[in-house]
Symmetry: C2
Subunit: 299 residues, 2 copies
């Protein structure tokens, strides 16, 4: 994937998001806290991953997937707002800016999160470029990924894990639910939007599964290795909360090794997909390259 | 509507809900706080209203609507859990029982609400008795009714109204969003499930609109007139919060008069529907009769 293509996809995403917001009937006092978190400089990783998978098929599929990408970002944004709340992670800063409940108040932040979560399903239901079957399958997969069998369960398990010592398997399970499911949704959405055959959809899903785990290990490593400037939050927030992280369970070297294993398995899927389709799936390795941590980074 | 029919509908609803829960893949620690609020003796007013409208068409339509009725109750239950939070109404009791965040903790209550909200869309998407077009229209109407253009916006406006004096029009607008939209959804869902023609769907919607306003005025009146035993919460909670209520804006007699006007308008729709379809829509007046407040009740 050329950086150029990603910049184009990012621009299309941002302008479609702005247009989407412009035509919404939401009262201004409700829209304001929603927009505050939607537009605070997020990397758009999840929607870009989805759009990049669609772009390999065609630019027409990118267009068809734009609203699903926005819905995905709505869900991710809601989860950050609720995760930052005093009753949860109690974070005052997100990407170097005051979190939603600091900028507004707790009640507003809870409601802004609720609204973003609910509106994600409006966005898919009102998508004119997809047929009803695609829309209902997207709704099903997104709600499964985000709900009591997915992300929310992961967040609850994560909070409970703060109090006890957990195994590597339990840690992986927590993050598969909490972080992984939304990445895997991106692959499932791409398959639904492009009508991908099973032998393409499956390795694409496996790719996002391992990408998601790699992303979480990378995050945990950055909390240990990174500075506040890089991560946009106070250093070692997770360590303060005594959360079980990959470096805590595996050690620093072990965590880096686990990260590399995940990245390699993910890369193998891209090679397989390229061989199987004749299309350039290895371009998606851009997302993996971003997660590489050299042992030298420890210095 | 015979009380007998409603008892049958309530039994079918409860057993379908139990079955629905039995087959869900949600981890037990997540399911527990969800079930606590789902099964704490709610009146099931919204799902019963929907099922009663379907029953006028046929018992087959009742069956088709059961999962939508459950989804509606999930949304209502989530809204109660979040409304009760310390940052919102800060209620310790709901229906005479500890609220979700008192029974568990605040983080769990936020997540249980998030999960119920999200899972409502799983339930509709996985409904085998409806076609894709029906499912996507139900998803659209439910997310619109509950999201940033509906219930959540109403809750935000309600909190803001605590600080200032508002007009009757603003009060009506707040409650149309906060309470009314879910009742109106019941009518919209009935129309989608039964494929009702426009000249039946429209008066049914108007009926639920006026029923919703009557319900809210009745609630406000009960806060003034009722006892803790009847309302299941500490007396005059809304007055303590200095919320603007119908009795506060219109006086006690004025509020009772406004209630009667709403009930009459709602009744007129039922007569019109019965004339137009030859079916017994006047049976729905059961729901209106429950809201009648006699002036003698003031004693």
């Amino acid at each position: 994937m050329m950086t150029n293509t990603l910049n184009v996809l990012r621009d299309i995403f941002e302008s479609t998001l702005d247009q989407q917001i412009r035509y919404v009937m939401t009262p201004i006092e409700m829209l304001k806290p929603m927009l505050y978190s939607l537009k605070n400089g997020g990397k758009r990783l999840r929607p870009l991953l989805l759009l990049a998978m669609l772009e390999i098929n065609s630019m027409d599929d990118v267009k068809k997937g734009l609203r699903s990408a926005i819905a995905l970002e709505y869900i991710h944004t809601y989860s950050l707002i609720h995760d930052d709340l005093p009753a949860m992670d109690n974070d005052d800063l997100r990407r170097g800016q005051p979190t939603n409940h600091i900028q507004f108040d707790e009640a507003t932040a809870i409601l802004a999160g609720d609204a973003l979560l609910t509106d994600a399903f409006v966005i898919i239901a009102e998508d004119d470029l997809l047929n009803d079957n695609q829309k209902i399958r997207l709704t099903q997969q997104l709600s499964l990924a985000a709900g009591s069998q997915g992300m929310v369960a992961g967040q609850l398990k994560d909070i409970e894990a703060e109090k006890v010592k957990i195994t590597l398997e339990q840690l992986a399970q927590i993050h598969l639910l909490k972080t992984g499911q939304l990445f895997i949704f991106a692959a499932k959405a791409a398959a639904i939007i492009c009508n991908l055959p099973h032998d393409v959809a499956e390795p694409l899903e496996i790719f996002t599964h391992h990408f998601g785990t790699a992303y979480q290990i990378h995050n945990d490593l950055m909390d240990v290795l990174g500075t506040e400037e890089e991560t946009g939050k106070k250093e070692q927030g997770d360590a303060v909360l005594d959360k079980t992280t990959y470096p805590a369970v595996l050690g620093l070297d072990g965590a880096i090794e686990a990260l590399n294993t995940e990245l390699n398995t993910a890369r193998q899927q891209l090679t397989l997909l390229t061989d199987r389709t004749g299309k350039n799936y290895t371009g998606l390795s851009y997302f993996l390259d971003k997660l590489v941590v050299e042992r030298g980074d420890k210095s």
